[in-house]
Each structure stands twice: as C-alpha cells, then as structure tokens.
C-alpha cells in the first residue's frame, strides 16, 4: 500500500523540470507556435540524449524499459512548461504502440532510430470531432496484389507535418470495430499529401490525404481487421498522456496565478488577502491535486494491465480535461485585464487546455463510458446475489 511516485520516478521528474526550466522558457513556446515544424531539432536531440525517447521502451532497442508511470511523470513536467513538439505523438502514439503490437522486424527497423531521436512518428486514427469511435475511421485500405492501396482523408492528426512514419488506421472491411487495420506508412510515400490546420494552441496538426498510396503487406501492424484492440490500448496511453500534460499545465497556471495574487496590490493590500481571490486559488489546488491523484492511479492500473484501467482512464480524462480549462479560466480572472492580453502567458495555458479538453473525447463522452461501467457493475452485483 503506497500511493505516491517512487524516489526514482520523482528524480526523473525533478531532472526534467530542471532541464525544461532552462531549455523551454515561454519565449520558446511562443516562437514555436509560429514555426512550421513546431520544435527545435537541437532540443529534440538533447531530450533524446537524456534518454527521454526510450524511457519506457525496451532495453533491446536502446530504451530504459521503465514503467508507464515514469513516462507519465515526465510528460507532466512537459505540460508544466508547455513544451511544444511531437514527443507524445512519437513516443506514445508511435513507439509504445509499435512496441506493444509490432513484429520484431518492424520494431527493429524503427525503434532504435526513434530512441536516438532520429525518427518521428504519429498515430493517425480518424475521429468524429475528437471522439474515439470506430465509426470515425472512414479512410480505406483495399488489398491489391501483394499489398494494399490506401485512400481517403484523416483529419486533425497531431504532428503529421513532421512525422517520418505514420501509424495509420484504415478501414479494411465494413465491420464496425472488427474492420480496422493498422499500417506503417512512410510520410514521403507517393500519393500522400499533408494539409496543415492551425489549432488555437499553436501545436501542429494536419489533415492527411491518401490518394492511391501503395503499401506492402509487411506494413500491416498486427493482423488485418484486428487493429481495434491495439488502437484502444494506444488511445488509453495517449489519453493519459494528455491528462499528464493537463495536470502539469494546470499546476503551472495555478502557481503563476498564486504568485500574482501575492504581489498585485489593490485597495492597499495584495489581492490574495481577499477571500474572493484566495478561494479561487484554493479551488485551483483542489482541481490540480485531484487530477494528479486520478492520473497516477490510472497510469498505475494501466501499467499493471488491470481490468479497471479503461474506466480509470475515462475518469482521469473526464476530470483532467475539464479541470485544466477551469484552472486556466480562473487564472485569467485572477489576473484581470492583463490576463486578457496576448502579452501575458495565461492564454497559452487556456488554449492548450481547451485543445486537450476536446481531444480524445471530452468529459461528456467519457462520462457515458463511466455510466455504462456503473451499470455493468450493478448488474454483476445483483446477479451475484
């Protein structure tokens, strides 16, 4: 019985915080919002040299083979500093998914490069407005000769601009969940075009358009029509990565607001002396700490392969997504007029929060999953009696 990070996990977080404090000031965050790539290769290389890419990837590919919770803590720190770039897409969407479901040959050809920082990835799964249902995947893959031909559009794929390899979900048959297949697609493949879109947080997303893109059958990850469980597992890891970013970002938005409340003087005293402000700050702490509890709990269940993990992920996302937006919104209110300016940083947190809130399913979407689970358990209890 021990509900906390281990000393090692805390040390990883601390090291990440020290590094990002120097390397990722908010001037860098702002610069990358206007940068086409959205990250600096020099910083990417430093992160790879520190072992961040391979933190939770197998040692045989150069990784450290640590547990998911260690990675969660690292991503939390990235969220705190609003670190831009394709880390989660590459490591969680690509690397961990391939490590879980790819063939040894596929892993061998990709993961060592990814760990060294020489290869970027993203997971491209079509969604309905960010909601995760198999019905959202409309792009197709049709068997032809010794391979497949890919057609269709996948919208709003994170970090698609910079990915070298795209892990693509495509529809191979009309069976809802049992009709999806995952492919490894070279981003430079003929017939694949990338159309950048611009989300409010300045992160990079793009629509991928496939026009008769040919891939060999060796590009299939897992088995044909068998992608849904792989996608679902990958989405749980990605969803928790968003939660980790949210907890870190909300924590920083809170600290900035509390600092302001201590120093800004109105009516002859620091505004943090007024309960209207003090209680807003206290509510922020409740939001952040609660989110952190739910995040660590779900990450632990996930790494243990527990059957409660999917529900815990839904619970974490439903809370953390909303709470980041709440904390950043209250942060703007605490700051008053300056909080409304482009110059002040609070809107960077609010915008990232809003994108996270609506990614991987919003709280209403996850609430319905939780409600189903409550019903399932009630049925199980009443039939056990």
């Amino acid at each position: 019985m021990f509900f906390d990070l281990t000393d090692e996990q805390k040390a990883i977080k601390k090291a990440a915080r020290d590094m990002l404090e120097i390397e990722c000031p908010r001037s860098y965050v702002r610069a990358m919002m206007d940068d086409a790539r959205g990250y600096q290769p020099e910083l990417w290389k430093k992160m790879a040299d520190l072992g961040w890419m391979g933190l939770a990837l197998p040692e045989r590919y150069g990784g450290a083979g640590l547990e998911f919770l260690s990675l969660t803590g690292l991503i939390e720190e990235m969220g705190r500093f609003l670190l831009p770039g394709p880390f989660v897409s590459t490591v969680v969407g690509g690397g961990l998914t391939l490590a879980a479901a790819g063939s040894p040959v596929q892993q061998e050809s990709i993961l060592p490069k990814l760990v060294r920082g020489d290869l970027l990835m993203t997971l491209a799964v079509g969604t309905d407005h960010g909601r995760l249902d198999a019905g959202g995947v409309q792009n197709s893959a049709v068997r032809q000769g010794d391979g497949f031909v890919l057609n269709g559009i996948v919208r709003l794929v994170p970090d698609a601009q910079t990915a070298d390899i795209i892990l693509l979900a495509a529809r191979t048959s009309q069976q809802h969940e049992e009709g999806l297949t995952l492919f490894l697609v070279d981003a430079k493949a003929p017939g694949l075009s990338v159309h950048p879109q611009y989300t409010t947080d300045g992160r990079k997303v793009a629509n991928l358009e496939f026009s008769s893109v040919r891939v060999p059958s060796t590009a299939v990850v897992g088995r044909v029509d068998g992608a849904w469980p792989i996608i679902a597992a990958a989405q749980r890891r990605l969803t928790l990565s968003l939660c980790a970013e949210a907890v870190g970002g909300a924590g920083m938005a809170m600290e900035i607001s509390v600092e302001y409340a201590k120093t800004r003087v109105a009516f002859g005293r620091p505004i943090g002396m007024f309960q209207a402000i003090k209680h807003k700050c206290a509510n922020m702490l409740v939001q952040v700490e609660s989110g952190r509890f739910l995040l660590y709990y779900a990450a632990w269940l996930l790494q243990e392969g527990a059957s409660e993990a999917p529900e815990a992920v839904a619970v974490a996302k439903a809370w953390c997504g909303d709470s980041y937006t709440k904390v950043a919104s209250d942060g703007i209110q605490v700051h008053g007029g300056i909080g409304m300016t482009w110059e002040h940083d609070m809107h960077l947190f609010l915008k990232r929060a809003k994108v996270i809130e609506l990614s991987s399913g919003d709280s209403d979407y996850h609430a319905e999953h939780i409600a189903k689970e409550l019903e399932r358990r009630a049925t199980a209890i009443s039939s056990a009696r």
């Binding site: 019985m1 021990f2 509900f3 906390d4 990070l5 281990t6 919770l69 509390v258 409340a261 201590k262 005293r269 620091p270 943090g272 002396m273 007024f274 309960q275 402000i277 003090k278 209680h279 700050c281 206290a282 509510n283 702490l285 409740v286 700490e289 609660s290 509890f293 739910l294 660590y296 709990y297 632990w300 815990a312 619970v315 439903a318 809370w319 209403d364 996850h366 609430a367 319905e368 939780i370 409600a371 409550l374 019903e375 358990r377 009630a378 209890i381 009443s382």
Partner: protein, 395 residues
C-alpha cells in the same frame, strides 16, 4: 505506487469477514432488518456492538499495545474500515474518542493521562465529546471566551459551548478554555480533559434540521477541574488543537462510504421508473451518476494518500483540509441525487406509508448540510489551503 494490500492484510480481511458474518445480527443488510427506532434503545444497541468489536480487538488497532491497542500497521485499520463499510456495519459507538481525542492524547498527553484514558476510550467506558465552538466563536474558534481561572490545584471553568456533538451521550469532554485573557487570542488557550459528572455542567440537546438531536449546548458554571487534567502546556492549547483538527479532518474510510452510497444510487436509479423507463436510462441522470463516480474516486484516492503519509510516519497536516473540503461538498451532491431520482416521493418523511427506505435519502440530504459546516466550514478550509498550502497572505 502499489495499491494492493500485503498478504497479512488480506489474511486479516478474511478474519474480519468471518467475524462480521458470525457477529452481525441475522438479517443484517436486508430491507427487513431494522435497528430499534427509539433513540435510547438504538444507542444501547450501538454501545453493545462497540463492546463486541472491542472484545475482538478491532477498536484501536493501530494504538500502542501498552495503552490497550494492538500496535498494528495503519493498513490493517484501513482494511478493517473497508470491510465494516462493505457490510454497512457501525464503526463503533465512540468515534470522537477513538478517532480524535485518543490520537490527540497519544500525541500531546503525559504518561499519567495516557494511562488514565486511552484504554477506557477503547473499551467505551469513556465516551467523549469535544467542547469547541461557542455562541460567539465558530469559524473564529480562537476567539473563544469560556474562562478557566487557576485556583490552587484546580481550574475553575465558566462559559458555554454549542454544537457539541454527542455531549448528551458522553461522560468526558475535551474542553477548550481561555486561560490568559490578556494574551493574543491564539496564545491564551488551553485544553482540559473534563469528567462530565463534575458539578456545574449542564447539557441541553438541540434539535437539528433532520428532526434528530446529535448536538447540544453545554453550560459550564464554576466547574472545578484538577490541574492534572491539562492536556499539553498552559496557554499552548492552540498547538494541541491544530494536531487534533488534523485527526478530525483526515478521512479514514470516507472513500469507501461514498462508494457504497454511489452503488446504492445506481441501484435506486435502475429501480425507479419514470414514464415506463428506469431513471438509469435518462441521459441527465447518467451524466450525474458518472460525475459522482469520478469524484468518489478522488475521495478514495485521498484516503490512500493520507494512509501513505501515515505509513511514512507523517501526521495529518493542513493538506487534510483538501480531503475534508472535497468530501463534504461531494457528500452533499451525492445525497441530493438520491432525493432527486425519487422525485416528489423523495420528500416524504418517515411517517408516510409511501416512504422509500424509511426516509434514508431525505435524512442523508438534510444531514449533509452539516458536512460543510462541522470540523471547520468550507470557507475556513479554503482559507487554510490558500494560506498554509499556497502561502497567500492572511486576511
């Protein structure tokens, strides 16, 4: 991170389950089973249950052996609470003594006081209440005016306490008094351990919005308390109170209690029909239940967090305000959903023939209003979080 229980705790779980099955009255947990309706008889039943638990060694599991405890790991006590809650069995009739006063005496008491009180608190021989709030001192506790004047080997106490839970059942009171009216308000307070049979103490029960009487007014007139009953040092009572409030606000098994209440609400929603359909199919009810489930998880994890701090040898501090604040507000939301699912029938009181579950949902709804007031209001908890956790300036 590891939320599994060690094997010895799992073995203990089996022992507790077997004990509960053997000792709870037959029919326990079925709708047919009812505790006595008369408050006195019901109290007698609870006291008897406390004795049984004490005889089994289940009261004061974690307390030191020399004072009647079992010296057990806090994990065992969490396990015991979980199983008691799962069986909806009462946790013992002297909660204020075992959860709050006892640990405070262990932390601040002298050897003589520990010997005098601790084992009796466990056995239920000493039932405790806490004399804290006064008509002029609630949230601003440190402005309390009940005076204690030293006369030889005695303190002579005059004043009045209010909202004193269980004072009508207690034979001992943990009493906050002012011993130096000239000092700054936090520096003139002391804590006395007082026998309720001492002449000059009058208890008058107050009727609550539920219709029941849990709390009281306590009048103190020339009450002579031996000097040896001073807990901690004279005029240093605020330190003792801060420690005591930590014990008072820390959770124990709040998460499990909320979990049970939520499971019950899901059952209620499935069995309550509106326009031919179970309420559990209404998307708005589903959204509410899901939100409660999210928040119940937070309370459960807060229990685990507090347990972890305890296991690492820490004492409850200002961070317990977070758990108390969150739980109290969640419990109000939880209990209002029960009444809402039932609709107008949810407002029926006990004497109605159509009342559901003996009016439990209405009772829970009304009782929960106290949760954000007792043990320090939500406003006070937010002040504590703002000032002592976040470091904002005091108002």
């Amino acid at each position: 991170m590891d939320l599994t229980y060690p094997p010895e705790a799992e073995a203990f779980r089996q022992e507790v389950i077997a004990w509960l099955q053997a000792n709870l009255p037959s029919g326990w947990g079925t709708p047919q089973f009812k505790l006595p309706g008369d408050p006195k008889q019901r109290r007698a039943w609870h006291v008897d249950w406390h004795r049984k638990m004490h005889a089994a060694g289940y009261v004061g599991l974690t307390w030191p052996k020399e004072y009647g405890g079992q010296g057990a790991d806090p994990v065992m006590s969490m396990m015991l609470n979980e199983e008691l809650t799962r069986f909806e069995a009462p946790q013992g009739a002297n909660a204020l003594g075992t959860r709050i006063v006892g640990p405070t005496i262990i932390q601040f008491g002298n050897e003589e006081q520990k010997r005098a009180h601790l084992s009796k608190i466990l056995s239920g021989e000493e039932m405790w209440c806490l004399g804290m709030s006064e008509p002029g001192a609630g949230s601003d506790l440190a402005s309390l005016q009940t005076r204690a004047v030293e006369e030889g080997d005695f303190f002579v106490v005059n004043g009045q306490k209010v909202w004193t839970s269980s004072a009508h059942l207690a034979n001992y009171i943990y009493l906050l008094v002012r011993t130096d009216p000239t000092a700054e308000k936090h520096r003139g307070i002391s804590v006395l351990l007082v026998d309720m049979k001492t002449p000059g103490i009058v208890v008058r029960p107050l009727k609550q919005i539920t219709g029941e009487s849990e709390f009281n007014e306590v009048f103190l007139q020339d009450v002579r308390v031996p000097r040896s009953n001073l807990l901690g040092e004279k005029n240093q009572g605020w330190r003792v109170i801060m420690g005591q409030l930590g014990y008072e606000r820390s959770g124990g098994s709040r998460g499990m209690n909320c979990q049970r209440a939520l499971e019950d609400l899901v059952r209620l929603a499935r069995n309550t029909y509106r326009n031919g359909k179970p309420a559990s199919e209404d998307p708005i009810i589903r959204r509410k239940l899901a939100q409660l489930a999210i928040e119940v998880n937070i309370v459960r994890l807060t229990d685990y967090k507090e347990m972890t701090i305890q296991l690492q040898g820490g004492r409850p501090g200002p961070e317990t305000s977070f758990g108390k604040l969150f739980w109290s507000e969640l419990n109000q939301r939880l209990s209002s959903v029960g009444v809402q699912i039932l609709g107008l029938e949810g407002t029926l009181s006990k004497q109605s023939s159509d009342v559901v579950k003996n009016g439990e949902y209405l009772y829970a709804f009304l009782r929960a209003y106290g949760n954000t007031i007792e043990m320090g209001t939500s406003e006070i908890q937010r002040n504590i979080i703002g000032e002592r956790v976040l470091g904002l300036p005091r108002g």
